[in-house]
């Protein structure tokens, strides 16, 4: 049986651990020791679109876990540096895969070790009801591609494993077309949701806010063109489709600002704005949203 370690168990990490526990030997690296204890005692329960309870071995220190073949870093973007530091010096034979929103999640990991790296983006979503219970809500896919010292075949093996666990996944020879589609989608939708308080609903596809979303997507597309990335999907169409699913999704960045937590703005809109700047593409609207969300984070202390 394959040994997989999930590093970081928020919604996405919990969904992965809960499902992969059916087909692999799953260990979990948590940030808090109570979380590790609860998982060791109770396992991880998945409800919603699937229902499982997975037995997992959890710890805060990688030294307490057996060496995995695959590590999936599923922490929030804001915790990447911390997780990378904890993984440093461990599990040199493992392949490590990042699955955060935005661009550049691979870099802090790559800087802390020589592991072969895969990169992934995921569209699945859920709600975390407790440390040991996650509800699986959107059964959309995870996209995987090679990043460093890995091959398309490595990406396919991981996609197959995830599919065998009952989740959706697809491997790509080059992840960038998919990653950039999602980057533009998230940079637009997450920031607009965080600033307006609106869940991702019909307002994003029509009227004045729809016009703004369209203009933001256009800036993103211009940046992708300058980066010679051919988008896999049109982010505007992804947006329109997502608003028609019948229930309104609460983007994580909206949940973050409502709970006054740091957001992933740096890895998402920040990454897009920096890429655009490097490529000489003007992105005044994304720049404005980036500054507004950063300022909103600064207001938590008011």
């Amino acid at each position: 049986m394959t040994r997989v370690c999930i590093a970081g168990v928020g919604v996405i990490g919990s969904l992965l651990a809960g499902h992969l526990g059916q087909v692999a030997e799953v260990t979990v690296l948590t940030r808090r020791s109570e979380h590790a204890r609860a998982l060791n005692d109770q396992g991880l329960r998945v409800t919603g679109r699937s229902s499982h309870t997975a037995r997992v071995t959890a710890a805060v220190d990688p030294a307490e876990l057996p060496e995995p073949e695959l590590v999936i870093v599923a922490c929030k973007g804001t915790d990447l540096e911390t997780v990378a530091m904890r993984l440093e010096g461990h599990w040199s034979d493992a392949t490590v895969m990042t699955i955060q929103n935005g661009l550049g999640a691979e870099e802090p990991i790559a800087a802390r070790g020589d592991w072969p790296l895969l990169s992934a983006v995921t569209f699945m979503s859920g709600t975390r009801h407790s440390d040991t219970h996650v509800e699986y809500i959107l059964d959309t896919a995870t996209w995987i591609g090679p990043y460093r010292d890995t091959t398309p075949a490595d990406a396919r093996r991981v996609a197959d494993l995830i599919v065998s666990a009952g989740l959706k996944a697809e491997a790509f020879d080059d992840l960038r077309p998919a990653q950039w589609s999602k980057l533009i989608f998230n940079a637009t939708v997450n920031a607009v949701a965080a600033l307006t308080g609106l869940p991702h609903d019909f307002h994003f596809a029509e009227g004045p806010l729809g016009d703004l979303v369209h203009a933001l997507v256009d800036e993103g597309k211009a940046t992708a063109r300058a980066a010679a990335v051919e988008l896999r999907e049109d982010p505007w169409e992804m947006n329109v489709l997502a608003t028609r699913r019948g229930h309104a999704h609460y983007p994580s960045m909206l949940e973050d600002v409502e709970a006054k937590r740091p957001t992933e703005i740096e890895l998402i809109t920040g990454a897009l704005v920096r890429e655009a700047e490097r490529l000489g593409v003007p992105v005044p609207l994304h720049t404005a949203l980036y500054r507004l969300v950063k300022a909103k984070e600064a207001s938590y202390s008011e």
Binding site: T196, L198, H203, L209, A295, S299
Partner: protein
């Protein structure tokens, strides 16, 4: 001379109570708040703070009670202009009506119901403490001038300005009142929604260089739209913005739009950024940042319906 204040909130009350000090002026107030109107009729309208004044005037919630007036001074929030002037227009058949409201487009709305319109901008501010009692926070000047497509006679504008000044509200009558109006609109449109969207006070918005640069981007668009109409601003909004950010001025001030958002009240964004966008379209000046900010604040308002 008979003057009716239409919308006797904080700013309307400053005009009403001060004008009521004059022997030659009879002041009426038309307002939607029953409590405020009853208190004014029972005990007068009291101002405290920057000036201590009690004004004796007639207040009503029923526009039918209004007698014919020489002047109207409209001081409602911009989104209530249409309903207020539709109800009160009969009182101004022989008179002139001035707006001292925030934003762009109020004159156009008034002109749909009354014949002679006065464009106005006012800087004094206050807040209602309780029915019949208003805190006067800041003194300041008012500028009145003709609304060009349907102007009030110069002589009438001067009479009204003179009455306001004598009553304690310094007011200038000018030929072109668009400069002060656009200066104030650009100031408000470039700072209020930034406070509303981020939750930061005016001073904290200005001390973040990246956010201050966004404010300047909004100011530049507003200036371009003003310039395209041949409007000469009477002061640079940038300097006023920096001045207001000083600790002894308004560093800790929460923009009225932030207060509106925190209380989940409709904002005046349609008349600020929305107004700049509309005039920009008309004069072919692109205003993408004002458009974006307008859409975001409308989105905030929509989110309360969820």
């Amino acid at each position: 001379m008979r003057i009716c204040i239409v919308g006797c909130g904080a700013v309307g009350s400053l005009f009403a109570a001060n004008l009521a000090q004059l022997d030659d002026v009879e002041v009426w107030a038309y307002d939607a708040s029953r409590e405020h109107v009853d208190a004014i009729n029972a005990r007068g309208l009291r101002l405290t703070g920057a000036g201590e004044v009690v004004g004796r005037l007639r207040a009503t919630t029923d526009a039918h009670e209004l007698p014919p007036c020489d002047f109207g001074i409209v001081a409602t929030k911009a989104m209530h202009t249409e309903a207020a002037i539709r109800a009160a227009a009969h009182a101004f058949r022989g008179g002139s009506v001035a707006t001292v409201q925030n934003g762009l487009g109020n004159e156009e709305t008034l002109a749909g119901h009354v014949e002679r319109v006065i464009r106005g901008t006012t800087f004094p501010a206050g807040k209602i403490l309780e029915p019949g009692h208003v805190q006067w926070d800041v003194k300041g000047d008012t500028t009145l001038g003709p609304y060009e497509p349907q102007p009030a006679p110069v002589e009438a504008i001067e009479r009204l300005a003179d009455a306001c000044t004598r009553g304690g509200m310094p007011t200038n009558a000018v030929h072109d009142a668009r400069g002060p109006q656009w200066r104030k609109v650009i100031f408000n449109a470039s700072t209020n929604p930034i406070g509303a969207l981020t939750g930061l006070t005016h001073g904290r918005v200005c001390e973040r260089p990246d956010l201050r640069a966004l404010v300047s981007g909004l100011v530049d668009e507003g200036k371009a739209v003003a310039a395209a109409q041949g409007i000469v601003l009477d002061a640079d909004p940038e300097e006023l913005i920096d001045h207001a950010a000083r600790p002894e001025v308004a560093y800790g001030h929460k923009a009225s739009m932030l207060q509106d958002v925190e209380a989940r009240r409709a904002t005046e964004v349609d008349y600020l950024n929305g107004g700049i966008v509309r005039f920009g379209l008309e004069h072919r000046v692109p205003t993408p940042l004002n458009e974006a900010i307008w859409a975001l604040v409308k989105g905030v308002e929509e989110s309360w319906q969820q």
